[in-house]
């Protein structure tokens, strides 16, 4: 696989959220407004790149039997650093993200990439793979958060875009979009869109319905 493919494939063709349906929990929780989603994206990209590089560096000297423990330890230390940096430099966003920064440890994308890619590839490709998957995750997060903030509050990053009816404009905010459940609908629509655009991603139905028999009666 060429290096270009390693970076670009996770954007659409092998997106961790829309194709592999990983990391959905945080995509539901932190996408009410755009700013926390952006910060979360940067955090995940940083952790993914770091985890992939460090696992790739020690992949030859790591005993197979305890590799998961080592991987999780590496990821957890990176997440703690990210959490502390956020608390120091962006305390408000850190409060909004609350436990979800800590939960990057359990984000399946991170452990999934270290296990499936960094364990068997050199440092350079591993770094690119981490960044690529992080960006793939971020694209989904930013899309979902933009939809939710725009439709739910009429603003983007806090700047009013659609004039609210309450302030004499025309737009009545859709409060469903401010509830976590709406992220399910937005992600579902996004997956629908991506799979219409790339039909190769459509899964084969597991339980197809047999066609009904018809008899002309007229």
């Amino acid at each position: 696989m060429s290096l270009q493919r390693v970076v670009l494939d996770p954007f659409v063709n092998n997106n961790p959220v829309t194709l592999q349906v990983l990391g959905v929990c945080s995509a539901l929780a932190v996408t009410r407004t755009l700013l926390p989603a952006l910060i979360m994206s940067i955090a995940v990209i940083a952790v993914l790149a770091y985890a992939n590089v460090s696992v790739s560096l020690i992949r030859h000297i790591m005993p197979r039997s305890i590799r998961i423990i080592i991987e999780v330890t590496l990821i957890a230390s990176a997440v703690i650093v990210v959490d502390e940096v956020l608390k120091a430099y962006a305390p408000e966003v850190s409060r909004i993200l609350s436990v979800f920064v800590g939960l990057i440890i359990t984000n399946c994308i991170v452990l999934g990439r270290t296990e499936s890619f960094a364990m068997s590839n050199a440092v350079g490709p591993s770094l690119l793979d981490g960044i690529g998957n992080g960006v793939g995750y971020s694209l989904v997060l930013v899309f979902v958060a933009s939809c939710r903030e725009l439709l739910g509050t009429g603003a983007l990053l806090g700047y009013p875009v659609l004039l609210l009816a309450a302030d004499g404009g025309w737009y009545v905010p859709n409060l469903l979009m401010t509830l976590p459940a709406s992220a399910f609908f937005v992600i579902a629509l996004l997956i629908w869109l991506v799979r219409s655009w790339r039909p190769a991603q459509v899964e084969v139905p597991e339980h197809p319905v047999a066609p009904a028999e018809f008899q002309e009666t007229a």
Binding site: V172, L176, V209, F214
Partner: protein
Amino acid sequence: MAAGDEVRWQGASTRTRRWARPAAQLAATALYSSPHNTASAPHVRDAANVQRLFFYFVAATFPAVLIGLWNQGLQIGQGLAESGLTKLPGWRGVVLAGMGWDPLTAGAVWNLLVGLVYFLPLLAVALAAGLLWEVLFATLLRRAPQSGVLMSSWLYVLLLPANMPLLFAALGISFGLVFGKHVFGGGGKYIASPALLGVLFLYFSYPAQMGDGAGLPVPGVESRTILALLADGGIERIAQNGVAWLDVFVGRQPGALGTTSALACAAGALFLVLVRAASARILAGALLGLIIGNWLAAASGASTSAPWYWHASLGSFAFGVAFIATDPVAASVTRAGRWIYGLLIGLLVVLIRTADPAHPDGTLFSILLASLFAPLIDYGAVRAQLYRRQRRRRALRA
């Protein structure tokens, strides 16, 4: 699913023909039914196809619509008197004034007309949006359009308040049909009533407009449902406000367009049972669940406890149980399953009304929850039946 739905159009060669065909098919089958009737094994061969079954549900609501719209006119007139205004806002107010409506001298026929002026545009918008999605999905999936749009849109509009903006009404039914029906593969495959999902979408998206479904198009008048009174101060509060049970039972109470009359809903339910469109077990189960739940709530000293016949005629309970919970697709299908499904709805209604002060009327939530459990309930009922049969066989052999 309407008979003949699975017939795929062959040779749709040009783009126009591809788009025009489902629309033409839809227009044609609106008046007469499709020549394709299922004749294979598990189905009853009968003239009553799915299209007719769905129409029974529309026809069964006619009494509820009549009384509901009359009541809506009455409530609007009272709201106007309360606010001191002389005419209604918006283009509907202009239309009514042009027709010569005078809220002070209006009688029953005028009340019905006022209700119609609010009901018909909502219905037209909901139907147009529903048909648009049906034709769109039929075209993209290259299949014939399915019946059920009229039923979904009709029941949906009856659950809306009179002051619902037309744009929101279109959004709600679009959500209900796309996310409630088409993503699951269309008619016959959905897991909860699309009309119900559309209303709940509005409930969460636009709570100011949707509210309890009792909003009146009179500025400055806050119309509170009797359930809200009950949540406030129990049955004594209702008595203080001078509301008589018989009035409420017949349909004189603030509420959504078609849901206020428990009497008319009961008549509609009876019709549905007689034509075998709805299951009497679901209806009886829901009423029994309400009575048991209410007895439990009263025994535990809940402040919202009221005689069960009050609870049965308040909010959208009667309408929801009669026409939404009996949805032929989303409800349970086994005998025991239908009892459990009905009981679950009745019990949940009382539970939400008693324990959740934020939602005075829990009917729609209860039906949604019970619909989601319907396949599990059916699974359990079938397993229990298989177990009993096995035990009988073993007893015979021994």
